[in-house]
Amino acid sequence: MKYMVLIAGPEDAPSSGTPTPERMAAYQRILGWWDEQSKSGKVLEGYELQPSLTATTVRRDEAGNVTVTDGPFVEAKEMVGGYAIIDVADLDEAISLVSGWPSSATLEIRPVVTRD
């Protein structure tokens, strides 16, 4: 089954801010995890995102009116900082895979809609 994993956390991700040795090490661990899981075929694709201050929200209502605003669509303490598309047997395997994420984070697992 394919799932999207949304990776969220407070916006002082290892890749942002002053590159202290701790941050660099944490970033290396994440890259290592990503590499390993991609090779195993469980992570199909994914990206780290630029911080939410770069976000732009476009809203389109039923009449087709479009408004463009600065910022993400929900203001929250934890912001989505990346995503991965994974392919695993079931939710238990997804939970176990995602539990191995090598840094503190909140990860949301959502099955993607597939048409077969």
Binding site: M1, Y3, D92, A94, R110, P111
Partner: protein, 437 residues
């Protein structure tokens, strides 16, 4: 189907009581009903569990079982019960399943495999007399209590699917609208299907954490019923017996899990004394004042043996410790004669495993009996902030202050307790204390 709602195990898993029931010759009709009810409760869940595994469709599985039960309840009272009711029901459900699946394009591809698996289960149930052969209920229980479902959904789904309670009964027991329960169940099943929650028993490595979820659900079900007051609806009070039935099922399916046995022993130790908790007028009778001659001492002895069996496995846990504390009370001839040293020692160990303020509060109350109210008050002190809104903290503190003659302070803290609880029996008790002095 009102019959299934009445499908409670009248003996509540207590073999002694079941024998006594079976020995009553004067009520054959009631006896048949009780046996029928027990069979329905037992087989319904087992049938659903196997059909869910084979069909991979919760709705269809439950529909087929419901249909088979309707046929059974029409024919059994007339023709007598089949020797192997489980296999009978399964055969009935199987014929219907094949009919239904043939007409449904979604199953056409898998029809051969499904038919074969259904035949396998049927023959295994018939050959072994059905006893625990191919019992898929562990999968069912672990899936109903999967951590990806909310606790409310876990509870509703377990009661509905494993214990076979009808939705209105679940709603009445939890004092929530029927539509809410129905929606919780529908959503939970949808999540199981669409989010890919697997239908399996967790592997050894994840088992402890997952079993904890199951035990927490069963404990919640039990407590919800046990803490209900005498004036509450019968459905609400019966929930304690449903919880004990589920725990006894879990123990049958996992006989080597000491915490599951500990939980069951604790429930039975409580149930054996349940009648003494309320006076004839429905008012609450606390442990020191309970008439111990009304306790079911046979049931207490059986539950105590069960606990001993768990303790001998050498893997202690919070449920076994709680059961051991309850056992200290249940096996003591009087309140004053309780082995308070043992009770405090057990609370010390429980506090190590589960350092919660409520455990610390109960430990303080045992300390009051062992070393006096002064020391107990000192033990309560550090809990003040965290339990500021917990009525039992204030009620307990009030009692300790009274024993020290500090009546004004006692009244003040009891008034605080009164403001924090809506439970009528507890309110009445506090009001009486405040009125007395």
């Amino acid at each position: 189907m009102a019959f299934i709602r009445d499908a409670r195990d009248p003996a509540c898993g207590d073999p002694g009581l079941r024998e006594r029931l079976a020995a009553v010759p004067s009520e054959p009709r009631a006896l048949i009903d009780a046996r029928l009810a027990e069979t329905v409760r037992e087989e319904r869940g087992r049938l659903v569990a196997s059909l869910v595994r084979i069909l991979r469709d919760w709705e269809l599985a439950e529909e087929l079982v419901q249909e088979a039960l309707v046929v059974a309840l029409e024919t059994w009272p007339r023709d007598g019960m089949p020797r192997n009711p489980g296999a009978w029901l399964l055969t009935t459900a199987r014929h219907r399943a094949i009919d239904r699946l043939r007409r449904d394009a979604r199953y056409r591809e898998r029809l051969g495999i499904i038919g074969e698996e259904l035949r396998d289960v049927t023959s295994s149930w018939s050959e072994t007399g059905g006893v625990l052969a191919q019992d898929d209920r562990l999968r069912l229980i672990f899936t109903c209590c999967h951590p990806a479902l909310s606790r409310e959904a876990q509870v509703a789904l377990t009661l509905r699917t494993v214990a076979g309670l009808e939705t209105p009964a679940v709603a009445k027991a939890f004092l929530v609208p029927e539509a809410t329960v129905a929606q919780r169940i529908v959503r939970a099943k949808r999540k199981i299907r669409d989010a890919g929650i697997p239908y399996r028993v967790p592997e050894a490595a994840e088992l402890p954490g997952r079993l904890e979820q199951v035990l927490a659900v069963l404990y919640l079900v039990f407590n919800e019923g046990y803490l209900a007051s005498a004036g509450d609806a019968a459905e609400r009070r019966d929930l304690a017996r449903d919880g004990a039935w589920l725990a006894s099922l879990l123990v049958r399916l996992m006989p080597d899990e000491p915490e599951a046995i500990g939980l069951l022993a604790m429930m039975r130790l409580h149930l054996a004394r349940a009648d003494a908790r309320f006076a004839a007028d429905g008012s609450l009778v606390l442990l020191p004042e309970q008439d111990r001659s009304t306790w079911d001492h046979d049931a207490i002895a059986n539950a105590h043996e069960l606990l001993e069996r768990a303790l001998r496995m050498g893997r202690i846990g919070p449920y076994q410790l709680q059961a051991a504390i309850v056992a200290c009370h249940a096996t003591s001839a009087s309140y004053a004669g309780t082995d308070w040293g043992e009770v405090v020692a057990l609370y010390d160990r429980l506090l190590e495993l589960t350092p919660t303020p409520v455990v610390a509060l109960n430990r303080a109350l045992a300390i009051a009996e062992l070393r006096g109210p002064d020391e107990a008050l000192a033990a309560l002190e550090p809990l003040a902030a965290r339990l500021a809104d917990y009525h039992l903290y204030h009620a307990a503190r009030g009692l300790l202050l009274r024993r020290l003659g500090r009546i004004e302070e006692a009244r003040e803290t009891e008034r605080r307790a009164l403001a924090l609880t809506a439970n009528p029996a507890e309110r009445r008790l506090l009001e009486e204390r405040l009125a007395a002095s």
